[in-house]
């Protein structure tokens, strides 16, 4: 065996475990999934040869009974619910992060803890908690019924409303934390410079505060939107059939419907949509941030 240079030895020693992990736990399963998507679903619910596009055809809605838009609706609904939840999370987290960052130091730590602590509890338990809050006969449901939002005796769950609440509640910390980090190192001198240079308070926010928080905001959007798009637990527990997301569709193919190729095709579509979303976000960040890279 040829004697390797010390540098090369070090390189192999430090990089190999990481590369192996990625290979075994990411690359191989992804390839397996990709292969699976192009197999045919056999008569006994097992994926078999020949290679075909049958799974994708089914995913697009072509079944025994002709074309149905159900799966396409699920995909569009996933995108819509993700966007809506991310928007609401941002609207809550942006002022909250600013408020926390302006408190005295000891309060800041406490308030951040209050934001983070709920996420230490299991997602299922938290969703069940919301079921109890939104169920028929609870004060909140009665109140909503009296205002005429729902029929009397009905609950606020299962519904799309409950799913959005669940998503917002789940992912709020992931938006608050990066935004807080951005606000904490906000350079107030830039804001004062903008005010000094004839910017109204609103213009100063737009031109001096917002650009400084943009990287934090973009990080938050990535941290919220990607897992929200793949959400499975919250929709399963809080939503009905009309708020199902693509994560549920995929899970169902593996767990109940025994149509693995269809599930794999769904997972591939999820990855594709996520990548497209990242690309859109990156372009948006570039436009808002004056050609600076704000998203990796």
């Amino acid at each position: 065996m040829p004697k390797l240079a010390r540098d090369t030895q070090h390189l192999l020693l430090t990089v190999t475990p990481g590369v192996l992990c990625i290979l075994v736990f990411l690359v191989l399963p992804s390839l397996y999934l990709m292969g699976m998507a192009f197999l045919t679903n056999g008569p006994y619910g097992l994926p078999t040869l020949p290679l075909s596009l049958q799974a994708f055809r089914e995913l697009a809605g072509f079944g025994f009974l002709g074309w149905s838009p159900g799966n396409l609706y699920t995909l569009l609904r996933s995108v819509w619910q993700t966007l809506l939840a991310t928007l609401i999370v941002t609207l809550i987290a942006y002022p909250a992060a600013y408020y926390i960052s302006t408190r005295p130091a000891r309060w800041r730590a406490l308030m951040l803890l209050a934001v983070v602590v709920p996420s230490w509890t299991n997602q299922v338990i938290r969703s069940v908690g919301w079921m109890n809050i939104l169920a028929p006969g609870t004060p909140l449901a009665d109140f909503a019924a009296r205002l005429g939002f729902i029929e009397p005796q009905m609950g606020l769950f299962p519904s799309q409303f409950a799913v959005i609440i669940g998503l917002v509640y789940n992912f709020l910390p992931f938006m608050v934390l990066p935004l807080y980090a951005a606000f904490e190192k906000l350079d107030m001198a830039q804001v004062e410079a903008a005010r000094d240079l004839f910017a109204s308070p609103l213009s100063a926010f737009r031109h001096a505060v917002f650009p400084q928080t943009l990287p934090g905001l973009m990080a938050g959007v990535v941290l919220v939107a990607i897992p929200a798009f793949g959400m499975y637990v919250v929709t399963e527990l809080l939503g009905g059939g009309r708020s199902m997301m693509i994560g549920n569709l995929v899970a169902r193919q593996f767990a109940q419907a025994s149509n693995w190729p269809l599930g794999a095709a769904g997972a591939l579509i999820m990855i594709a949509v996520t990548l497209i979303g990242l690309k859109v976000l990156r372009n948006l960040g570039r436009r808002l941030g004056g050609d600076r890279e704000v998203v990796l």
Binding site: A193, D196, L197, F198, A208, P211
Partner: protein, 364 residues
């Protein structure tokens, strides 16, 4: 002005006076930043607020910019009361100590910010940017990003970003403090020349007394939020109002006056006859002390001292002396002759014309 006026010089006509009338500002019950400060700044004046950190000079500048409001007192700019006028409605621009450039905008976009906010026409905006960039010498940098600039270049961009608005008053908050000595000296001269050329009112904040003396028409010395003295650099250096101002201007020879009568005063190093004003200290600036070797012919009224230390300062040597156990500092120009050495006895001639009598701190 005798020479034909370039476009920007026309602004001289609108240079504004500033009136500061009994202004106070406290941040907490016990933290008084400004205490009953009154002063007037003339149109077209280069006016400096000088003092140690925490003396209130930056607070006063922020009050002028409108970034902070006084707790009491009135501020007038160009005869107009600034009470309740927000910063974006004041024809005042600031060069910030940290420069506060916008990192997500390049040099041109930084400079055009104020013009954009004022909704000037595109033609006017580019005309003003070109003119200001040429004036400040940054016309080659306009397309650069902020992170590609050196400290001195950033300083110029910050200056251009403020000046391009052609404000009635330009505020400068220690704009040179982050630069190295050589660049600093050059920019001092450049800023001074620029102010003269534009005829604009400059209010300059610094803690460096030499910088203040070099640049200013007049200086206001602040101490713990109070106005200690206001005057020309010469008046402040040669006739400081009190002990604080004297020490802050770099004076070290302050002799407590033990007794004074119609014919003279008594100090720890001896009696000086003459007609002196009432006061607590006799100030002997370096130029009031002439060093003689013992072997040189003695002038009348000389006192004896011992050299403790010689500090070579290039053009001159600084001598730290003891005179009747009292420390004194004197200087001697280095003119090729060997001067006295440590341990030598010397004679000191005191030029009382150049001496001054001053008050204890806060009495003035």
């Amino acid at each position: 002005m005798s020479e034909p006026a370039p476009p920007m010089q026309q602004r001289a006509r609108s240079a504004s006076s500033i009136g500061i009338d009994q202004v106070s500002r406290r941040f907490a019950a016990d933290a008084v930043a400004l205490d009953d400060v009154s002063l007037d700044i003339q149109p077209g004046e280069f006016f400096t607020l000088l003092g140690p950190s925490g003396c209130g000079k930056t607070t006063l500048l922020r009050l002028l910019a409108g970034l902070d409001q006084p707790d009491s007192g009135l501020i007038h700019i160009g005869g107009r009361s600034m009470q309740g006028v927000p910063p974006h409605r004041r024809s005042v621009n600031t060069v910030f100590q940290s420069y506060a450039l916008f990192p997500h905008r390049n040099v041109r976009e930084n400079i055009r910010f104020g013009l954009e906010m004022q909704r000037l026409s595109a033609a006017e905006i580019s005309r003003r940017i070109e003119r200001t960039a040429a004036l400040i010498g940054i016309d080659k940098l306009l397309e650069r990003g902020i992170d590609q600039l050196s400290g001195g270049q950033r300083q110029r961009v910050a200056l251009a970003r403020a000046l391009v608005n052609e404000p009635d008053v330009l505020l400068l908050d220690e704009p040179l403090s982050a630069l190295d000595a050589g660049l600093r000296g050059r920019l001092q001269i450049e800023l001074r020349r620029l102010q003269r050329q534009l005829g604009m009112t400059f209010v300059f904040v610094t803690h460096d007394q030499e910088e203040a003396m070099v640049m200013s028409d007049r200086i206001a010395v602040l101490n713990h939020g109070r106005l200690a003295q206001i005057g020309t650099p010469q008046a402040i250096y040669e006739k400081p109002a009190d002990e604080f101002v004297a020490r802050f201007m770099g004076h070290e020879n302050l002799l407590p006056i033990k007794k004074s009568d119609a014919t003279g005063i008594e100090t720890p190093i001896g009696r000086f006859s003459g007609d002196f004003a009432e006061g607590a200290y006799l100030l002997l600036p370096p130029q009031s002390l002439i060093l003689h070797r013992l072997d040189q012919p003695a002038a009348p009224d000389c006192i004896e001292a011992v050299v403790d230390e010689c500090l070579y300062r290039g053009g001159m040597t600084e001598y730290r002396l003891s005179c009747s156990d009292w420390p004194l500092v004197a200087t001697l120009a280095n003119q090729g002759r060997p001067g006295p050495a440590a341990g030598d006895r010397v004679r000191l001639e005191v030029v009382t014309r150049a001496a001054a009598v001053l008050q204890a701190e806060g009495d003035g």
